[in-house]
């Protein structure tokens, strides 16, 4: 497989052209082709700056009108990549343009609408805010128009209010309007840089009212976000102030409030006390699994909190969230967190696994097992279960769970059993060594056995491991005893069908993997029929061509299949299911 990025080729093509002259730009403008050129300008930054300056100058001298280029119809023709190139150009140039507020707002609205749900969709709002700062009188006219009910002005009110940090005006909108203009006022209160602590406190007092229960959900969410923005501006605000906000928001929250809370937990968790984090997580247990933005924020928050003093809260939260009866969320919904768990601190993963097993938390246990299946091979846990202070029943129970969920990662499963063996009495050790032999060593004669052979004589688990290895040897010797019994072998016809089926399966797996691959959408896909290296030429600036050579490398994954999957699939499936779903009697 050889590949090359489309982006790289486009870059190379773009880089090959120099900055157009003013005359060319005017000609392009008059021919209706300037928007096409603007959407392709993503070369070196100094060239881009010069290009933008030249365009602004032409606009401000009235030879072209950049704002009129933007319309829904014009934007519809652009693909995603070119649109965002264009948006970037406008975000940089809008603050410098001489234009009416209406033209600027219309342009920004079109750019925002086209961007849809993308994370960068709101950037033109900031460009408008900066334009307002550069044109305060025009900003005031926007505020005035909003007061009279002008729809376009109302839409941009929150940013116009930031032009000169109009606190009083913002408070006025927050207090005296009951529609979207109140939301704009609240939003502005959070974004405005308060000159004094008194101003901030005044804003905070208004915002706190709107955060409390009984208010409109959108209003609560906006007020909560704004209040945290105000908090950031003065060190005089204490963690208790933040905790109070979280506590107030936690009272009968709606979906938007939960979304805002998840934002804060993700982005402002540094301001939160442990108690506030706990309160926030308790509140977020009410999240609707269908609200993907909130789930995404929670995922990011969990990821951020790992490795912080709030880590235990994060792990308790995920544990509790995934054990809610009838819940549909799984670890897969929290991919950033999951990735960090699977690849980060092994002891943390061990503790979370044990927590999941002990609680018989099916979704968390399965989710973690799936994560480990998908992750690169990791070293077995090298620890003891002693700090967990488990009872004898619990020790055997977690071992069975480890086998049930981590059966296809036998080394990891073995290492959990070993951690118990290092902390248990002889009765439990007898039960655990049986499990070590059957089903683990009965099924796996490869890496799991090799791993167990490395357990040193001084290790508390050594005796049990030796016993299990001895049983395994006896079992393996028995398996080989029959030698070759031709009468039992599948016929050539049957083997042929097996081969064809395996080929079909592999083909399907490859297709599926490619359909899931993020790379396949980014790269050009070439299939090399011959050779072990590829050579292609890339166009560079000045009609030069650069040779790109690529070596082919083999990529392989090996997985040891459990022996009983072939000789007793039903029995194995039954046993593992029992291990997975059984619960400890209280």
């Amino acid at each position: 497989l050889g590949s090359d990025t489309e982006t790289a080729q486009e870059n190379a093509v773009a880089a090959s052209s120099s900055i157009p002259s003013a005359k060319t730009l005017i000609a392009q403008y008059n021919a209706g082709k300037l928007i096409d050129d603007l959407s392709r300008r993503h070369g070196a930054s100094d060239e881009k700056d010069q290009y933008e300056q030249r365009c602004v100058a032409l606009h401000n001298t009235g030879r072209i009108n950049l704002l009129r280029l933007i319309s829904g119809a014009a934007l519809a023709q652009l693909n995603s990549h070119r649109f965002f190139t264009l948006q970037h150009f406008y975000c940089n140039t809008i603050p410098k343009l001489n234009a009416s507020a209406r033209d600027v707002m219309s342009c920004c609205r079109a750019l925002i609408d086209k961007a849809g749900n993308d994370g960068a969709a709101g950037l033109p709002n900031l460009a408008f805010r900066d334009w307002c700062r550069a044109n305060p009188k025009k900003a005031m006219s926007v505020i005035g128009a909003a007061r009279t009910g002008d729809e376009l002005a109302r839409r941009f009110l929150g940013f116009a209010l930031q032009a000169r940090d109009y606190v009083k005006v913002a408070l006025d909108f927050a207090k005296n309007y009951a529609d979207d203009r109140r939301l704009s006022g609240i939003f502005a209160l959070g974004q405005i840089k308060h000159a004094t602590l008194a101003s901030a406190r005044e804003a905070m007092s208004v915002l706190q009212i709107y955060i409390s229960s009984g208010q409109d959900d959108h209003l609560r969410a906006s007020a909560l976000r704004a209040a945290f923005e105000v908090l950031k501006q003065f060190v005089e605000f204490t963690p208790d102030d933040a905790a109070n906000l979280v506590k107030t928001a936690g009272d009968d929250p709606g979906p938007q409030t939960l979304l805002a809370l998840s934002d804060i937990l993700w982005l402002d968790h540094a301001r939160l006390s442990d108690e506030a984090v706990r309160t926030a997580f308790d509140t977020l247990l009410k999240v609707d699994p269908a609200h993907t933005r909130t789930i995404h924020n929670i995922d990011m928050a969990l990821h951020q909190l790992l490795g912080t003093p709030h880590e235990v809260r994060a792990l308790d939260f995920i544990s509790e969230l995934l054990s809610i009866p009838g819940g549909t969320l799984t670890v897969e919904n929290f991919q950033s967190f999951g990735h960090e768990i699977a690849h980060g601190d092994p002891l943390r993963l061990y503790r979370l696994l044990m927590q999941a097993f002990l609680a018989a938390n099916l979704r968390l246990s399965s989710g973690l097992a799936d994560l480990l299946m998908g992750a690169e091979e990791r070293a077995p846990f090298d620890t003891s279960a002693a700090p967990l202070n488990l009872t004898s029943d619990q020790q055997i129970f977690v071992c069975r769970k480890a086998i049930g969920f981590l059966f296809l990662k036998p080394m990891l499963a073995c290492s959990i059993l070993l951690s118990v063996l290092r902390a248990c009495d002889s009765d439990v050790a007898h039960a655990v060594r049986e499990l070590l032999f059957d089903p683990l060593l009965v099924n796996y004669g490869g890496e799991a056995k090799d791993y167990l052979k490395t357990i040193a004589a001084g290790d508390a688990a050594h005796a049990a491991v030796q016993w299990a290895l001895d049983r395994e040897k006896e079992h393996s010797d028995g398996l080989r005893a029959a030698g070759t019994t031709k009468e039992l072998h599948p016929s050539e016809y049957q083997r042929d069908i097996q081969r064809r089926r395996a080929q079909d399966e592999m083909r399907e797996v490859q297709k599926h993997a490619q359909s899931k691959s993020i790379w396949m959408n980014l790269v050009r896909h070439s299939v090399l029929l011959y050779g072990r290296r590829s050579l292609l030429y890339v166009q560079e600036t000045g009609n030069r061509r650069r040779a790109v050579e690529m070596d082919l490398k083999p990529i392989g994954v090996a997985l040891e299949m459990p022996r009983l999957e072939t000789i007793d699939p039903v029995g194995l499936d039954y046993k593992l299911r029992v291990f997975r779903v059984e619960r400890l009697k209280r």
Partner: protein, 567 residues
Amino acid sequence: MKVLIRDYLASLKEREELDAILPDLLSELGFTVFSRPKRGTTQHGVDVGAVGRDEDGEHKVFLFSLKQGDLTRQDWDGTTQSLRSSLNEIRDVYIRTRIPKRYHELKVVICLCFGGDMQEQVRGSVKGYTDENTTDRISFDEWNGDKLAGLLIQGVLREEILPKRLRSHFQKAIAMVDEPDIAYQHFSILVRRLTERELDGKGRVRVARQLYICLWILFVWARDIDNVDAAHRASELVLLHTWNLLRPYIGTRKGIIKALTTVLHHVIELHIAIATAMLERKILPHAGTRHTVSIAVQTSVSIDVNLRLFDILGRISLTGLWLHWLIDNHPDATLLAAKREQLGQLGARGFQLIQNNPCLFLPIEDQQAIEICLFLILAAHTQGSQHAVRSWLHEMVERLRFTLQTHGRYPCIYTDYRDLIEHPRARTDEYRKEATAGSILIPLIAAWLAALQDAEALKVLTELKSSLLSHCTLQLWMPDESSEDLLYVGRTDHGIALTDMPLTESGVELLETIKEACEKVGSFVKLSAHRTRYWPIILTACRHYRLPVPPQFWIQLLLPADESRGI
């Protein structure tokens, strides 16, 4: 062809092998055999005695003393078992006292018979002995592998009765004996072509002998390459076709039926010998070791293990049932104890095989109920532990429930390997409904569980029948009036399906229904194999042609003694 037969002859062992085919060979050449090999009796050097025309045209008595393979110095002289000692005994005792009176006037030819060649270093000694002891009445002749092969080709396998195209199938069967499916295909063509012709009594005897000799040759070659699978399957086929040749003559002309019965018994013995060669040497020694036989399948596909292990269970069962029949019908005092011991071992090892190879706790094909049924009958006849039977069936029900509920590898109606390897093709209710449209397995195990009073397992079955299997037609199969003509030759378009079997938690209604049906359908007792007490032939046909075992074979085992009368 001659080379092929010579190699086969050279591989034969004296006991029960060379002496087993020689009488048939002689009969086919026109000899009258008056003495056949017998175990436990003093032979005085003679393995086979016959009267026939010598090359000079004169009627003479031929006394054969057999040795396996090549005749070596050790075989010739030096021990009490040597050929020279045998020849001395023939001259000193047999000729004087054991030749039937009616042949006393005939000259005697003592035949030194061996499957291979006479080694050169011994030829001088043999010549010296025969020259010295040749008289007017007694002469000596050498019947080596080459001569025997020639006689076979001129006799029982001569071209008029085994044409070239059939020889070709036979040769291909032997050449491909390590690919049992292909070898069996060719051999079955040979069997069908030989038996499908219109044949009179003598013709039937000749064909039966041909089948027997061909089976022997196939077996010896299979044994040489260490894979007797094809030979075992071929032996079942030969057995069934030999019976089909014989059955019209039951109760008729004495000579034909006697000759056919003799061949039939040889085939039965050969069939058991082939089964024993595989089971006792290769499978049963490992039945007591966990997973060993399963692993020996050497596959990465679980379906192969399931198919092979149930197949082996069926072979164990049928071999055991043939031994049981042999003990009941041909009590040879010298062998009885050994046969009983062998039978007990088969039953016990069968249970060990199940315990140590857990795939035997649930079949993948519904039709593997045939093997399960055969083993249950064997267990009943060998006084197998009721507890072991009950545990096996109980676990089977548990696994059945589990696999049905989880859309796992539950028993399905499919028999094609491509379907089985994909099973379950979809984990949907629709597919499950299609794959479990009918069942002979469920009523079978329900009936046995009812007799064993396992209410818990019956409850599970009843619940499954009223939920996941509500669409499934529970059924059993019984022969009808057309079965007698079709059963032994592999036709499956005959018989009666007993359907809509009642399933309740007590199982009483089920047993009653089966009992009533068995009483009502009288065709089973009219089957020739049943009438003549050769009942394992029916079981062999069921296993070989994949027909359910008729409930008449087992229902009486499940009913209280007073209720089972008359079935």
